[in-house]
């Protein structure tokens, strides 16, 4: 504590001086300065440079040494001879990554929100030890993606617990992570396992905000549980569910670390997603094509913008609907 207060005292003269020069209210600028400096250097500046990278070619990291190339990077990235056949694309791996990401996001978000909703509904009942059960689902949320991937890799490896189970039931062992469809299935499963608890919490908070007297009224009217769910719970939960859907989709589209450690994007390109494409193009490969990676980033950003706009739209539509009702 002594050392801490020494540090704070050290800064005091600086602020006193600023206060004398600027006046009391403007000292605020000095308080936000460190934050803005970090944001400026590591967020705002990179946003601008990103556009620059996307419009230049070559392998140089320094923007000044990179020749202007217009939309070439986007052409390399997106152009296909025949859009019904991926192998005619300039960068078929990028298109595969895009399709994989869309397929992953749809399935992962859909299934996860359904399970999170069911879990939240169960946790919202009068059950014994609710706090304990809630934390059960929350625990994996705190684990690092690398740890999550290793836990499952260990279970799914060819001599792992899952194959032991199959052998015990007199079945053939399966190479879970080197068969395309299985690998894809497990990326979805593992990612739901790791993140479901977070969304369960948000939905649970939404459920607890629904006024209790509505349920009491429904009970008076002898409404069936199913009807109560459809007529009271779900409509009132809608704003909450929209937030959950969009948050989950924004995360799903950026899926990278768990899958990268679990399958490495394989087998082949079966579980390669957009962020992994960016990472490989810009950092992991022998020739580092920063321009192409930046162009891919901007494409990803476009997806995220669309999602955010969709959320605003949906929320507004939901509110309008409520007013009409």
């Amino acid at each position: 504590m002594g050392r801490l207060s020494f540090f704070f005292n050290l800064l005091e003269p600086l602020f006193r001086l600023a206060q004398r020069l600027l006046g009391t209210q403007k000292v605020a600028w000095l308080f936000v300065a460190p934050n803005l400096a970090v944001f400026g250097v590591f967020t705002f500046l990179p946003i601008i440079i990103n556009f620059f990278y996307a419009a230049t070619a070559g392998v140089e990291l320094m923007p000044a040494n990179r020749p202007y190339s217009g939309l070439d990077n986007f052409e390399t990235l997106l152009k296909c001879g025949d859009y019904t056949d991926l192998s005619t694309c300039n960068k078929d791996i990028f298109w595969r990554a895009v399709f994989n990401t869309l397929k992953f996001s749809l399935l992962q978000v859909g299934l996860m929100v359904v399970f999170a909703l069911i879990t939240a509904l169960v946790l919202n009942r009068k059950i014994i030890g609710r706090g304990f059960w809630r934390s059960v689902y929350f625990y994996p949320v705190l684990l690092s993606p690398v740890v999550v991937a290793l836990i499952w890799k260990w279970l799914l490896q060819s001599q792992g617990a899952f194959n032991a189970g199959l052998v015990a039931m007199d079945m053939q062992p399966i190479e879970w992570l080197t068969v395309s469809d299985w690998a894809f299935f497990w990326t979805i499963f593992v990612s739901i396992w790791a993140h479901m608890g977070f969304y369960t919490l948000i939905i649970l908070a939404g459920l607890q905000a629904i006024p209790k007297d509505l349920y009491e009224a429904a009970e008076m009217d002898r409404a069936s549980p199913w009807r109560t769910l459809r007529r009271i719970t779900l409509p009132l939960l809608m704003p909450n569910l929209i937030v959950v859907l969009v948050l989950a989709a924004i995360k799903a589209i950026q899926v990278f670390d768990e899958v990268f450690v679990l399958t490495g994007g394989g087998p082949g390109s079966a579980t390669t997603f957009i962020v992994q494409f960016i990472y490989q193009t810009g950092f992991a490969e022998q020739i580092q094509l920063y321009g192409l990676a930046a162009a891919a980033s901007l494409t990803l950003a476009a997806f995220l913008v669309i999602l955010t706009l969709a959320q605003l739209r949906l929320s507004r539509a939901d509110e309008m609907g409520k007013r009409e009702r």
Binding site: L11, L14, N35, T119, I128, L142, L143, W154
Partner: protein, 349 residues
């Protein structure tokens, strides 16, 4: 019938409805799905190298018993073998050619017995291989990785708390032109995930000379919109009269910040600290591009690089994974309440 009725009685309602049964069933299955994989990992991490290669695997860390034999060097694995006179005898295997094993009775080491390997059963005992853990500190630069992770987590969290609380103080307790713009600018960065500015961030870190430096991982993320938001919301509830009174007493603005506002914001600071520790300890993508040299690896990077090796040494890898998840599990066990409130109030993790 009376007993069944008593056992199934619940609080509030008279009897266990079928939906209650389904609910509890769902929860128990959930408990298994969520915790069994972690438990399996922890138990496996205590297996010896040979026990880990065994198929089918066991849940508990059993390993084959072995004994020294008089007149020979080393230890020899024990097997149960049906004896000629009926019953079984316990023999140690000294060599094996094809399907025939040569064995001796540890008590009578001169007398060699040939045994078909189909007839023998390994003698196993429960053995916790603590060596998997202790070896880590000698064999690898594991201590270094651990230190790097701890250093990044602690320093980054301290700076995060300082910078974000300063910004939150300015945005909640002052009126200055441009205040709204600054607030929106900071909150707006929530919309820009690190994944989409990866290449230019790499450039910036390279240009300021922080590549392969722990500071290159610490600095880019010390300003977080989540942190500013969380702290500002909390500081808004601190009465302005306190600050006015301090100004009357000629306290400087800096003194007001760290003697009055900071201590009063302790609960919100605690929430942000926990979040920051989790973020930093678990961080992967930024360290992956910034730290490429072995000696600056964090635990997460070390785990990733070990699992990618051709011959993964699972017994060490599993032990390392368990060590990596210990701090997070402790946070979970003791501070979960804070995280839950944090998520509920900010909607972010």
């Amino acid at each position: 019938m009376a007993i069944v009725k008593m056992l199934t009685a619940t609080k509030g309602r008279k009897r266990l409805h079928w939906t209650d049964v389904v609910s509890y069933l769902y929860l128990v299955v959930g408990l298994f799905v969520m915790f069994a994989p972690v438990l399996w990992l922890v138990m496996s991490s205590f297996k010896t190298e040979s026990a880990i290669a065994q198929f089918p695997p066991t849940f508990m860390p059993y390993s084959q018993k072995s004994v020294p034999i008089e007149g020979r060097t080393g230890e020899f694995p024990l097997y149960n073998v049906p004896a000629a006179s009926g019953g079984t005898q316990t023999l140690a295997q000294i060599s094996r050619i094809g399907i025939v094993a040569t064995m001796v009775d540890p008590a009578k080491p001169e007398e060699k017995i040939k045994v078909n390997i189909k007839d023998r059963e390994p003698v196993t005992e429960l053995e916790f291989a603590w060596g998997n853990y202790t070896d880590l500190f000698g064999k690898f630069t594991f201590g270094k990785y651990l230190w790097n992770s701890v250093f990044i987590t602690v320093i980054a969290t301290l700076i995060t708390l300082l910078f974000n609380s300063m910004a939150a103080f300015a945005l909640s307790k002052y009126r200055f032109s441009g205040q709204k713009a600054v607030y929106l600018l900071i909150i707006g960065t929530l919309m820009i995930p690190p994944t989409i500015i990866l290449v230019p961030v790499f450039l910036v870190i390279n240009e300021v000379g922080l590549l392969n430096s722990l500071w290159g991982v610490i600095l880019p993320a010390v300003a977080t919109p989540t942190g500013v938001f969380l702290l500002r919301q909390y500081m808004l509830t601190i009465p302005d009269e306190l600050i006015e009174a301090a100004r009357m007493d000629h306290a400087s603005e800096w003194r007001i910040y760290w003697r009055i506002v900071l201590p009063l914001s302790a609960p919100a600071l605690a929430v942000l600290a926990i979040f920051s520790v989790m973020w930093r300890w678990n961080d992967f993508l930024l360290p992956l591009i910034v730290l490429s040299q072995n000696e600056v690896f964090t635990l997460q990077l070390a785990l990733n690089s070990f699992q990618g090796e051709l011959n993964t040494q699972w017994h060490y890898l599993l032990a390392m994974t368990v060590i990596t998840l210990i701090p997070v599990t402790l946070v979970f066990a003791f501070l979960q309440r804070y995280i839950t409130t944090g998520i509920a109030s900010a909607g972010v993790k």
